[in-house]
């Protein structure tokens, strides 16, 4: 359930932006969920609703987009997707779920075997945009 900690982080950012922008109504919060972290969306949503209870934000304004994880080898420049790693066991996936950088511990470039690769996108939870109501005077 550490998804709750990340949901709380998202709400904290929205709260900050809300205060910094004169408490304008929040119309939409577009959240990007990286595939690598294997976030359980149901747990994340329950956490979000719980944290939002009593806040000025409705859970309905939160929209989620899953971003595929892609990697690039710094050595051979090969590109690949997470789904190509069929060799990861339950323990390894659990470690990456808690801490996505554990991918560098348990994954290697499928082309040259190097541990020196970069995660191009699809790491974890980030906020793509927050849309606020424009006040008409």
């Amino acid at each position: 359930m550490h998804e709750w900690a990340l949901a709380e982080a998202v709400v904290s950012t929205v709260e900050r932006l809300y205060e910094e922008n004169g408490r304008k109504t929040v119309l939409a919060v577009n959240v990007l969920i990286g595939e690598l972290q294997h976030i359980e969306m149901e747990i994340f949503s329950v956490g979000l609703k719980n944290i939002l209870a009593g806040s000025p934000f409705s859970p309905d304004v939160f929209h989620f987009e899953i971003e595929k994880a892609t990697f690039r080898c710094n050595l051979c420049k090969g590109d690949w997707l997470l789904e190509q790693h069929t060799d990861l066991g339950e323990e390894e996936l659990e470690a990456i779920h808690f801490l996505p950088e554990a991918a560098h511990v348990y994954m290697r470039c499928p082309f040259c075997g190097s541990p020196d690769f970069g995660l191009e996108k699809g790491r974890g939870v980030s906020i793509k945009s927050v849309e606020l109501e424009e006040l008409l005077r």
Binding site: M1, H2, A5, A102, H104, V105, D116, G118, L119, I127
Partner: protein, 249 residues
């Protein structure tokens, strides 16, 4: 793109009264040993203490404190593990076990932010951080993201160590980062050191000298099993941590 973790780190660390990075620009001076023993001594002195190992690539605090690396319990985040029945503990090693951790700088930053954002610390008097050697990503990120961070700087009497450590003190001084003091580790009888002069040069205190100890593994094992730190060595560490505790009053 907005990183929401930055907005929750302050909240996560709010229950911690003091955060102290046990640091040294020089490797091999005994930072991890000093951090682990100081955590045990503070806990022995009745202070609620945590230890966060930010030396991702060379994580060793779990070995020093004999922490069994199980995945953490989850509540509304992850709960620190417990070392020696008294010290709350978190490390990258909880997830990497004894495997190599090949990380580039940006990955180090990401991993640090993640651990800071999801670890739910209970109220603590002290959170000690075992820092990696050098003046790299971890130290710059710690300065950037940890509110009220203080530094405990470790050296040995060696001229080489003192020279390299001076660079860290110079940077901390330039940045006006609070330095609790300098600790001189692995001191042999008759050692002639300029550690005190170095501390004075940068307006800080030499908190104490820790004797070179052949029985270090044994003492650590005793401490990790909950026994008080023994001998002159234990006395030195206790005296240093008492000065650290007093420095915050």
């Amino acid at each position: 793109m907005i990183d929401p973790r930055l907005d929750v780190i302050g909240k996560r660390l709010a229950p911690v009264k003091r955060i102290i990075a046990v640091s040294s620009a020089k490797g091999g001076v005994g930072k991890s040993v000093c951090a682990a023993l100081s955590a045990l001594a503070l806990s022995e002195g009745g202070y609620r203490t945590g230890l966060l190992d930010l030396d991702f690539q060379g994580a060793s605090a779990h070995l020093l404190l004999d922490v069994e690396l199980d995945f953490p319990e989850e509540e509304s985040g992850i709960k620190p593990l417990r070392a020696s029945n008294s010290v709350d503990f978190m490390s990258f090693a909880v997830f990497s076990r004894e495997h190599p951790v090949p990380l580039r700088g940006s990955d180090v930053t990401q991993a640090m932010l993640e651990l800071l954002a999801i670890t739910i610390w209970d109220p603590l008097d002290f959170l000690l951080i075992d820092m990696p050697p050098g003046i790299g990503d971890e130290i710059l990120d710690a300065l950037r993201y940890l509110p009220g961070l203080e530094f405990l700087v470790v050296t040995t009497p060696s001229r080489l160590a003192l020279h390299v450590v001076e660079r860290l003190l110079a940077m901390l001084c330039e940045l006006k980062a609070p330095v609790v003091g300098l600790v001189e580790n692995m001191v042999r009888p008759g050692s002639d050191s300029s550690a005190r002069a170095l501390a004075e040069k940068y307006g800080t205190a030499l908190l104490g000298s820790v004797p070179f100890e052949e029985r270090i593994d044994e003492i650590l094992a005793e401490g990790a099993s909950g026994k008080p730190l023994s001998g002159n060595f234990g006395h030195s560490i206790r005296s240093i941590t008492a000065r650290v505790a007093a420095s915050g009053r």
